[in-house]
């Protein structure tokens, strides 16, 4: 059957049934609804401000802050401006987050690998750790670490000491502080020499591999060479001296002192995040197909080579995206510092809000700063992610 009839003339679609019109109308309605909500809030806000005789602006940033901050990586005094105080808070947040991320990653990998250990006891310990940490609130953990452990430590005179170089007391944790000596520059020559040995070993190894007469373990020997040369240099010259903390009249001086607030916050963040990172690492390793390991074995790779060349590169691709969100969580969780008195971004912000009577501008600054930290962290991790994903076919 052939149809040779013209299609019936399409009736003009009325505008209220035209999808294009409806789409634009829906968006206009959405914009108007949100706009009305914002206008409503803004009007109330303006009324509230005029009733309270407050203004809205960022002019306070240039004024003198007048409050002290207990610890700061840059010189700070109450005479400095609110802007400087805010910067101090930001630097403190960045500092504790950065160190926390490094330590949590190391501990998290240990936990994740331990959960896959062939040893039953190690496996059980790791999984109990993960369950306990993940099922209790971070803030409670921080309170236990700070109020029930760090603040209950003995007074300075009865400090707990480990090997006469690490001291724990109510005032914090004191560890030997590294100090560069005059021998540091000569020692760098040893490092260069060691790297030269390694590079040479790798070059020879690669060359021999091309000529199909590989020498097994030459690269490892190169690493051993680097380590040996660097260690010999270290022992001979002593490029870094560790200054021991010494007890003075009221407290320890010298070395590296960490306040109980910082030490408690760092411990809490690291222990908490490491449990989550451990699960991420375990999931990543388990997600590598068994066939990959079997194929690697069949090709004659050793156990170490299988892990290093086959399992880890593939696991890494699975691990990185959830790892990023754990890093972001750690940075955001550092705002709990306020509960134990570490002067981070949020705590300084809250003090500023109270003192200036300008809570909204301050909280907006604090929130946008956290947002910026989150964005920059995800950006960096996305770049890294893309670099390791590039091998995917």
């Amino acid at each position: 059957m052939t149809l040779n009839v013209d299609p019936p003339p399409v009736a003009a679609v009325p505008p209220w049934r035209d999808v294009r019109v409806l789409r634009i109308a829906a968006q206009v309605v959405a914009v108007i609804a949100v706009g009305l909500l914002v206008a409503f809030l803004a009007r109330n806000f303006a009324t509230a401000l005029s009733e309270r005789g407050l203004g809205f602006g960022f002019g306070f940033l240039g004024r003198s802050a007048g409050f002290d901050i207990s610890e700061s990586p840059i010189p700070y005094s109450p005479a400095d401006t609110y802007g400087t105080a805010f910067l101090v808070g930001l630097l403190n947040t960045l500092f504790v987050s950065f160190i926390g991320i490094i330590l949590a990653t190391v501990l998290g990998i240990v936990v994740g690998v331990a959960r896959l250990s062939p040893n039953w006891l190690v496996r059980r310990i790791a999984s109990s750790y993960v369950e306990v940490i993940r099922n209790t609130p971070l803030l409670v953990q921080l309170f236990i670490i700070y109020f029930a452990v760090f603040l209950q430590l003995p007074a300075v005179a009865q400090s707990i000491s480990f090997a006469g170089s690490v001291f724990l007391n109510q005032r914090g944790v004191f560890v030997p502080g590294p100090q560069l000596t005059a021998g540091f520059t000569p020692w760098l020559a040893f490092v260069a020499l060691g790297i030269g040995v390694l590079v040479a070993a790798r070059a020879v190894a690669r060359h021999r591999e091309d000529t199909e007469r590989p020498i097994r373990g030459l690269t490892a020997l190169g690493w051993l060479g680097l380590l040996t040369v660097v260690t010999i240099g270290w022992v001979l010259i002593g490029p870094v001296a560790f200054e021991l903390p010494v007890r003075a009249r009221f407290n320890f001086v010298g070395g590296l002192g960490l306040s109980p607030e910082f030490a408690a916050l760092l411990t809490g963040l690291v222990l908490y995040t490491a449990a989550f990172i451990g699960e991420v690492v375990r999931g990543g390793i388990q997600a590598v197909r068994r066939g990959q390991v079997e194929a690697a074995r069949a090709l004659g790779l050793s156990e170490g080579e299988t892990l290093r060349l086959v399992v880890f590169p593939q696991a890494l691709r699975i691990i990185v995206p959830p790892l990023t969100s754990q890093y972001l969580n750690l940075a955001k969780n550092s705002s709990l510092a306020i509960a134990i008195g570490y002067p981070d971004l949020f705590k300084v912000g809250q003090t500023m809000a109270n003192q200036t009577g300008q809570p909204l501008p301050v909280i907006l600054m604090v929130m946008s700063t956290y947002l910026a930290i989150s964005l920059v962290t995800s950006l960096l991790m996305n770049i890294y992610n893309r670099r390791i994903q590039v091998l995917e076919r």
């Binding site: 789409r23 806000f45 409670v140 236990i144 964005l375």
Partner: protein
């Protein structure tokens, strides 16, 4: 198949099965493993002995038992506390009926609810609160099983049960907050506290944020650029900032944004903050569920002539929401833990009340006991729920299709 030619069945060799083989396999397979086992074993035994000795002889647990009422319900009037027990009883009956009617994962939840109340009863017996509340808790735990029996008979149709669950939230809220001039006099939310407030904040937070989160998820996937951009912006901004900043905003700044005559109390403001916060996370969960729907489903419903809204309501959402239930239980667990942050804005939920208790002279120096107790309460709640959600996940078959 015949047994011929199979020969005599020999017992498996000793070194392959049995406790000795298990030990060799799991703890002493090689000298490295043996050394690790001995070292960690010694460390663990030392740790358990130390902690056990502290918990048994040194710790003053009376701080916990003497203040148990504060820990559980805060400053809620003692003569009105029966309302909370009644409320628990209602939830127990509902949970039991549902476990009978649906079976599967709801049964695990009923077991959990009953076990939690029995544990609570044991704690109450050890406290000066007396035997009556403990008896009621045991009765509640038993009610779960009585209702379960009724539910099993199939007398209760599922739809009214579902409606009862929906109604249980406003009913519970009315029961706890009360209405002036009735047998349930009004109790100001200023005196709500302890575990009661913790559970209320988390429950209200997740339930109120759910519809909002679904809308945001649909908005983010919308083909209208304006809607999609606004939804995405909201979700990403909220997820990029810490909860404390949002609670601070809700506590200090929100009153400035509302008309002067709308006086929200602190608990309501905190609930608002938590709801706005968790909506962004619910939205991301739901978006995951929406993405899991094969596009054939949507095409088929369009071919049947369903409109966009009809497609969402009848085809997409029922499938998507079913798939995200386990993820939302996970969210509820983390929300329950996150409610501790309202301590920072001065509410007396479980953690806040414990700080108030520690400020009393007779609980001086009992930080470890109190905080360990709080941690244990959270651990039991969260662990029980995560196990239940694991079962739920398997019962719903998420990820296995």
């Amino acid at each position: 198949m015949s047994g011929q030619g199979m020969g005599e069945t020999l017992p498996p060799p000793r070194d392959v099965i049995g406790p000795a083989a298990w030990l060799r396999e799991n703890l002493f397979s090689g000298w490295v493993n043996s050394v690790v086992t001995l070292l960690t074993g010694a460390a663990i035994i030392w740790l358990i002995v130390t902690i056990g000795a502290w918990a048994v002889s040194e710790a003053r647990w009376t701080v916990v038992t003497n203040n148990l009422r504060l820990f559980l319900i805060g400053q809620y009037p003692a003569d009105q506390a029966w309302r909370i027990l009644l409320n628990l009883g209602l939830i127990s009956v509902l949970a039991g009926l549902s476990a009978g009617a649906w079976g599967g994962a709801t049964r695990a939840m009923a077991v959990t609810l009953s076990a939690l109340q029995l544990m609570l009863a044991a704690l109450v017996v050890a406290s000066p609160l007396g035997i009556i509340p403990a008896g009621v808790l045991v009765l509640n735990a038993a009610l779960v099983w009585v209702a379960f029996g009724f539910g099993l008979r199939g007398w209760i149709p599922r739809r009214p049960l579902l409606i009862a669950w929906v109604l249980s939230l406003p009913v519970s809220f009315l029961l706890i907050s009360g209405v002036a001039g009735t047998p349930f006099p009004s109790v100001s939310s200023n005196v709500w506290g302890g575990l009661l407030l913790t559970v209320l904040l988390a429950t209200v937070g997740i339930l109120l944020s759910f519809p909002f989160g679904v809308l945001l998820a649909l908005g983010r996937r919308s083909q209208l650029p304006v809607v999609s951009i606004m939804s995405t912006g909201y979700i990403e901004i909220i997820r990029g900032v810490p909860l404390v900043t949002i609670l601070f905003m809700a506590d200090i700044i929100l009153p400035l944004f509302l008309p002067g005559e709308w006086r929200l109390d602190r608990v309501a403001r905190a609930m608002g903050g938590i709801t706005l916060f968790s909506a962004a996370y619910v939205a991301e969960n739901v978006r995951g569920g929406l993405q899991a729907i094969p596009s054939g489903q949507i095409e088929a419903s369009q071919a049947l002539g369903l409109s966009g809204a009809q497609t969402n309501i009848h085809i997409v959402l029922p499938q998507a929401l079913r798939a995200v239930i386990p993820a939302n239980v996970g969210l509820f667990i983390s929300l329950l833990k996150d409610t501790t942050l309202v301590t920072i804005i001065g509410l007396l939920e479980l953690l806040g009340i414990s700080r108030a208790i520690l400020a009393q002279p007779d609980s001086f120096g009992a930080q470890m006991e109190v905080y360990v107790f709080i941690a244990a309460v959270f651990f039991i709640l969260c662990y029980a729920m995560s196990q239940a959600s694991y079962r739920l996940e398997r019962a719903l078959g998420v990820g296995t299709r």
